[in-house]
């Protein structure tokens, strides 16, 4: 961790990685939650993937 923070322009580099992880993580969670919410209201027989 110390080596990471010692990098030149560490704030920008780590910021780019953090933004990627946070944005993708939030989107993935939103997708999963929306699927769970809608999935509860539909019988499994009507889901083409089950």
């Amino acid at each position: 961790m110390t080596a990471l923070l010692a990098m030149r322009d560490a704030g920008f580099i780590l910021g780019a990685y953090a933004a990627t992880v946070v944005v993708i993580g939030s989107f993935a969670l939103w997708v999963l939650r929306a699927g769970r919410r809608s999935g509860r209201l539909v019988d499994d027989e009507e889901k083409y993937w089950t």
């Binding site: 780019a16 990627t20 993708i24 809608s38 083409y48 993937w49």
Partner: protein
Amino acid sequence: MTPTTSPQPTARRATGTRATRVLGIVTLVMLGWLLLFGLVLSPADIDQGDAVRIMYVHVPTVWLAYLAFIVTAVCSGLYLFGRRHSLGFDRVAGASAEIGVVFMALTLISGSLWGRITWGVYWQWDARLTTTALLFVTYIGYLAVRGLEGTRERRARRSAVIGLLAVVEIPLVHWSVRLWRSLHQEATILDTDLDVDIDGLMLFTLFSGVVAFTLLFVWLLLHRTRTIALDDLLASRGLDRAIAERRSEVTSSGSIGGGS
């Protein structure tokens, strides 16, 4: 006396299957691998220094945004020109565009952070940056059109037309660095002479990023398409219920009217 058992409500499944769970785990491992190589194991560049590490997330996100928009265009074409006009293609097109917009947003964020280190500013109205922003805004518009009122068929038709037109911007974005004088560096891998000007470990890290983000794209696309299918099913049920209620209202008011 035998005890009576009431039937237990079975938990309904969401959008996941065994295959998506395995894919999700592999994707997480690959993303961890990318973090390890991108931030720790790969060397700093002679010219760019550690700023080159941003490339390992910046380049895969833009490639995946392109892929997502191409998938949208292909599915739009299959919907418009296919014999059955299957709404399944429309759902994949919509889901892929949503994912593409997320990847494109990340491209702009990571690119502006790289620009701040390399050029000293977060943003320049340079050809590559401007055309990329235009592509991003176009697909925001595409998603806005998908949200407009109307039947699913009408939504599918108008968004398919936009999906086919918008994809034409991708070559413009990719070749903008050659068409105009640009601050942005030219392609390292997909350049015209097909000569890969990059160190082996850097290329490996970049390739890992592309693989990790491609797996992530497939995982997200499967889940999002299934969610849209569920929402369409629920919406059609709501419409059927509303029509049935309206019919029963008309029937009951008709019978009252007829009786009086």
